[in-house]
Symmetry: C2
Subunit: 232 residues, 2 copies
Amino acid sequence: MIPAQTPEDRPAGQARQLPPATVSRLTLYLRTLNALLADGVENVSSDALAESAGVGSANVRKDLSHLGSYGTRGVGYDVANLSRQIAQALGLTHEWRVAIVGAGNLGRALARYAGFESRGFDVVALLDADQMVIGTEIGWLRVSDVANLESVLESTRANMVVLALPAQVAQSVCDRVVEAGVHSILSFAPVALSVPEHVNLRKVDMATELQILAYHAQRLQEPGLERDRPGA
Amino acid sequence: MIPAQTPEDRPAGQARQLPPATVSRLTLYLRTLNALLADGVENVSSDALAESAGVGSANVRKDLSHLGSYGTRGVGYDVANLSRQIAQALGLTHEWRVAIVGAGNLGRALARYAGFESRGFDVVALLDADQMVIGTEIGWLRVSDVANLESVLESTRANMVVLALPAQVAQSVCDRVVEAGVHSILSFAPVALSVPEHVNLRKVDMATELQILAYHAQRLQEPGLERDRPGA
DNA sequence: AAATGTGAATTTCTTCACAGCC
DNA sequence: GGCTGTGAAGAAATTCACATTT
């Protein structure tokens, strides 16, 4: 009978489900907005945002329109307000406590990465399986034994986990993390992990990125070598 | 008008431009195939590949069909052959020499990351601006002075560059890299870089990934407006 | 005049479903 | 029977273009 909810229905600022492509671009806009904010800039156009994110301006406007109408025609967007709206839509007003599993080269680099702290992500634990590493201090954290994963997650109330460990052990640690009730996982392990439906898993894979570059590079590099037909 | 050219036109093994989404999945299939190869498995079905890459099997078949018909109906794909075909399509038969700029935590982690070497990417140089770090050995490499970027890129014949440096200096180093003739760049700097048309730039951004996780986590966590209570 | 917000058109990507081959 | 390869259908994302507002 009554439609579930018309757009005007929802409390201002409470967007319904955003398209995935939009979500990832919103993070880019947010970064630009925060830089502008630091510079004291008050207004920004969709064109300027598009430029700094490397997308089209119509795309920016459509993305932002999913959050509501926060722009002013003829003027642009208020930097401070839009930054706030995006942060809220992305859930960055919550407190996120991140545990990093794996204190190898990558895990250590991540633990010290200033970008996390400055964006509202608190690194609350660093764990490893190597007895030589457990107990040492890295950054301002003491490395915990991954054998105690469950209790560390609980005592630190971590609600996100970053996996920075070898492919061989990634799945089993991942299972324990899920079992322990953490449902947001970012994996750097070069392997596909399987998780239950309700778990959010994202992957970052550096070798994959290089391979994609290789594909494009190769195609530029041999423009017409063995091509029977020159040009289009 | 006459269609440009039919698929049968192209020399076997010389694929036409692949859709971007396909390229990134091919890297996943390749990883699985190489693992199977190491295990001595000879055949694999699109279903099995789909499972290990976390996509649908029709998607796998469509992706692979862009390379040509390398499967056998009723049987599946020959692991060794398919691995070779994908590697070739991705341009991994070339020799890729990677220079890493920035020997901070992340740069060091990348320099030691075994995943690169094992996938045909040769890390040939590591550069930094810090006099305390220049000249020290990390992994197999001696850290060079980024002031000599151009000559290092030339002498090592690097054809890819990984940027692992702070946002403030990323653009200027990026410009020098492009000017020096390297057209494939993977950036870990949390900033949008602008490059000429013909340069391939990819970005990996850890803070962005966490923000996307935060968005999804928040939605699960939100005390449902019209959501069922998560009790099951 | 300037720039947003948005339906409509377009392109790209995914999924379906089944013919064809082993 | 089992599994690939692929047109056709469907869904998602992007781009266009312009009415609308300041």
